[in-house]
């Protein structure tokens, strides 16, 4: 072998140097080790084919190594076959072993390296495929993803979602900036928006914006913007979601919410109103309102309750109703209350008394109800408290009146029995005793006569009063009369009685006749004079003044007697009223009541001025206008005047002839009477209305107007035509007059009286 000498030369020198190995390690072992290592290396090299993929190279290397291994195998064979000539140099074989070791190590290193490389490559390809998928997904996401330059803001990359939403192509978009897409943003506002990112203050900004599509339509978006500082150049990454739906939901939600809020608000308002209403009912001053609890304590009370009880609200809230209820009423109240609590009853009403703060007693009517919750437990009690002092007062007034009546009957009996005693006594004495002289008998007879007259007067008074009161058989026979005459006659009567008083009479104004019942008027005057005679000392003047004014006659009777207190004056017209001081004089206590009734019946007014110790002046007024009488007095209303009487007669005849289809008699006469009368009547009734102004009576006024218009029409119509109109208007007038004068005037007058003529 050509290479052997070299081999030997080199190894010989080396073996000399490392000669001690000969002793230590037999050559065969070195050879075996070399062979084993070379085989291992060759197999390893083959394994590398799979790792590296370079088949030819590694087969060649492996073949070379195998060759070396074969060479050693032959050497070993020669050694075994004792071919000593060819005994290998131990030194060389040792180097070969070392090389083999190095080979194995080297190949294993290469193997590890390639294995790592392969693993890395696999990992990279896996990562790449993931990235691609991710990118693809992102690209097709409906979210718009934008990457744009942090300095120029030009889009670098946009995803498919963005293109689709915006209707731009990728190319078109790369020429735009985010500001171009956001119509509500200018460069400045966008810069302001991204400033926190640029300054690294925040990792991300999220904001809502509006994107404009290529076609100009708008849609709301939510933008999540991030700045990638590490990229070169730095880029913004924006992930943008279309929030149209969300906005729609939000809007719907908002509207629902608003609706709900409105509903809640309106309900609240209603509730408040209802509460206010309840509160206002509660606070109504008509009745005391109370909310109380199971322990009878007050929870709430209104002002009226405070007024009734005399306690302040805060004081009442510290109390229970048991504390302010009159002890005598407590048993019943507590009994009813416990029935209410136990559910035997839902409400109860009772009359009871409260003890007010000042200790006085106030009668009340209470209405208590129990308010329970759904479970049936007692929530609270609501009570209405009605102050019935007034009602009790009315009852008291009734009792007082009844007492007055009893007193009156007793007094009346006394007044009747006293003259009767004289009459009976003297008549018995005259008839039973024979020892009286003729003079005595005459005296006693005179007494009997006088007392019987007195008795008759008293009976008249009583009867008058009872007639007036029942309003049935009392009649006023009204006629046009001279009041002065009545006054004079009555003064004459009193003068004849020789009471020791002067009765001067003073007239003022032009006298005129008024519609009065002269007999009743004298009764009035008689009562006034006899009162004055009673209270004024002998020798005093009882002066009468008659004043004829435009609308009424005033008659006043003054005396300088004892006078009366204001209280007495206020009560003087009460029936059966007699002041304590009056008891020393005879009287039924009816005189002034009767006077008042009579003046009322004449549609007049009466009033009194009096001062204790100075005297009394009674004044009454009889209206000039005549037809205001109260119909309940069964006033016998006469024709208003002679003209009226004539007219009525004519109209009655006219009506009869019209009904009978006869020729009218004296139509001209009727016409003239009618017109002049109607004018008179209308005029004075207009005066009445002007004077008293009762809007209810405007109905009347209109009917007057109707009639007045007819009359006017009548007057302005040519004479011949008037005759044709006459029957119509006559019938109308007839009905009108009969209805009005004979009936409605009485109603009319009662109206006036009711409305305050006599107040």
């Amino acid at each position: 072998m050509a290479w052997e000498p070299l081999y030997n030369l080199e190894l010989v020198e080396a073996s000399r140097f490392f000669g001690f190995y000969e002793i230590m390690i037999p050559t065969e072992i070195i050879l075996f080790l070399s062979i084993a290592l070379q085989f291992w290396a060759a197999i390893y090299a083959l394994k590398l084919i799979r790792v590296t993929g370079r088949r030819l190279a590694w087969i060649c290397i492996s073949f070379a190594i195998l060759l070396m291994a074969f060479r050693r195998c032959i050497t070993v064979f020669r050694l075994v076959t004792d071919d000593i000539k060819h005994s290998p140099d131990q030194m060389a074989e040792g180097v070969a072993l070392l090389i083999s070791v190095l080979m194995v190590v080297g190949i294993s290193r290469i193997h590890i390296y390639f294995q790592q490389v392969k693993k890395l490559e696999e990992e990279r390809s896996q990562a790449e495929s993931l990235l691609v998928r991710f990118g693809r997904i992102l690209d097709h996401s409906f979210n718009e993803i934008y990457i744009f330059n942090a300095e120029t803001w030009k889009f670098i990359q946009v995803n498919f979602g963005a293109c689709k939403n915006l209707q731009y192509s990728q190319e078109e978009l790369t020429k735009l900036t985010p500001v171009d897409l956001k119509p509500e943003h200018a460069k400045e506002t966008f810069a302001e928006l991204v400033r926190p990112l640029m300054e690294k203050q925040v990792p991300m900004v999220v904001f809502e914006a509006v994107h404009e599509r290529k076609d100009g339509t708008l849609y709301p978006v939510l933008v999540r913007l991030q700045l990638m500082h590490d990229e070169v150049p730095p880029v913004f990454v924006a992930i943008i979601g279309d929030i149209t739906e969300q906005k729609k939901y939000e809007a719907e939600l908002e509207s629902h919410r608003n609706h709900l809020e409105e509903l809640v608000e309106s309900r609240t308002r209603e509730l408040e109103k209802s509460l206010q209403r309840t509160k206002s009912y509660f606070d109504m001053p008509l009745m005391g309102s109370v909310i109380s609890n199971l322990n009878k304590g007050f929870i709430d009370v209104n002002e009226e309750m405070c007024r009734i009880t005399g306690y302040r609200k805060d004081e009442l809230l510290q109390k229970t109703w048991a504390e302010i209820t009159h002890p005598d009423d407590m048993k019943i109240d507590a009994g009813l209350f416990s029935e209410l609590v136990s559910g035997v009853r839902d409400t109860y009403t009772m009359e009871k008394r409260y003890v007010r703060k000042d200790g006085s007693i106030v009668p009340v009517e209470i209405f208590v109800s129990c308010i329970r919750n759904e479970a049936g437990a007692v929530n609270y009690f609501a009570a209405m408290v009605n102050d019935i002092s007034d009602r009790k007062g009315v009852e008291g007034e009734k009792e007082r009146l009844s007492q007055m009546k009893t007193d009156f009957l007793s007094t009346a009996a006394h007044e009747l029995r006293t003259p009767l005693t004289t009459i009976r006594g003297f008549s018995e004495l005259i008839s039973t005793r024979s020892n009286f002289s003729g003079e005595q008998i005459r005296n006693y007879s005179h007494l009997i006569n006088k007392e019987s007259e007195n008795l008759a007067d008293i009976i008249d008074d009583l009867l008058d009063l009872s007639r007036i009161e029942s309003g049935k058989s009392f009649s006023l026979n009204v006629k046009l009369a001279n009041l002065v005459g009545s006054v004079n006659e009555e003064i004459e009567t009193f003068n004849r009685q020789d009471t020791g008083h002067e009765f001067p009479l003073l007239l003022k104004g032009d006298p005129y006749e008024v519609f009065i019942d002269p007999e009743k008027m004298r009764q009035v005057l008689r009562n006034l004079y006899s009162n004055s005679v009673k209270y004024a000392e002998t020798g005093c003047e009882i002066s009468t003044k008659i004043e004829f004014n435009d609308d009424a006659v005033l008659i006043s009777v003054s005396d300088k007697g004892e006078g009366m207190s204001q209280d007495q004056v206020n009560r003087i017209f009460e029936k059966f009223y007699r002041s304590e001081e009056v008891h020393k004089f005879r009287g039924t206590g009816l005189g002034m009541s009767i006077v008042k009734y009579l003046i009322d019946a004449h549609a007049g007014k009466i009033w009194i001025k009096s001062e204790i110790g100075k005297g009394t002046t009674v004044t009454f007024e009889i209206p000039k206008i005549c037809c205001i009488w109260r119909d309940e007095y069964s006033v016998n209303i006469p024709p208003i005047d002679d003209q009226h009487k004539t007219l009525l007669k004519l109209i009655c005849e006219m009506a009869d002839s019209i009904r009978n289809g006869e020729e009218m008699k004296n139509p001209e006469l009727i016409l003239d009477e009618l017109v002049s009368y109607a004018e008179f009547h209308l005029k004075y009734e207009e005066n009445l209305l002007e004077k008293y102004r009762y809007p209810e009576l405007l109905v009347y006024k209109r009917s007057h107007k109707d009639f007045g218009d007819k009359i006017e029409h009548f007057k302005n119509t040519p004479k011949d035509e008037r005759l044709h109109l006459l029957p119509k208007i006559t019938v109308f007038t007839y009905n009108w007059l009969m209805a009005r004068i004979l009936k409605e005037d009485a109603i009319y007058s009662s109206y006036l009286i009711e409305k305050g003529v006599n107040k």
């Binding site: 029995r417 006293t418 009767l420 005693t421 009976r424 004495l429 005793r433």
Partner: protein, 122 residues
């Protein structure tokens, strides 16, 4: 001689009673027209019997006067007949309460009056 005091404000009735006793022997009659005067007269005149009208003017009436007379030991022995025009039960009862011995209701018969007086005085 029995002394009769008439306390009555009505002049005619006073005269009637007075005339009733006229011509009857054994009676002396005195008239007053008010309750106060009646009380006074019971002390000065010392009547055996008083005919006392109930309703008389003045501060006190016949009932009150009767009470005063009956409560005074000097005058409590005097017989008092109440004259009442009211004729109501309560007046009669009140009269009896204050000590009146009898009552006569107006209008009365003079003969009846005498009979009643005689009966209470015997």
């Amino acid at each position: 001689m029995k002394k009769i005091l008439i306390a009555e404000d009505n002049e005619n009735i006073r005269e009637l009673i007075s005339v009733t006793f006229t011509g009857l022997s054994g009676y002396d009659v005195m008239e007053v027209d008010s309750a106060e005067k009646a009380i006074e007269a019971t002390k000065t005149y010392k009547p055996d019997l008083v005919l006392m009208d109930v309703m008389m003017p003045g501060p006190i009436d016949g009932i009150e006067a009767t009470r005063i007379i009956k409560n005074d030991s000097d005058t409590s022995g005097i017989v008092i007949i109440i004259l009442t025009a009211k004729g109501q039960k309560q007046d009669i009862e009140v009269g009896k309460e204050v000590g009146a011995d009898d009552y006569i209701i107006k209008p009365f018969s003079p003969g009846e009056l005498i009979r009643r007086i005689e009966s209470v005085l015997t």
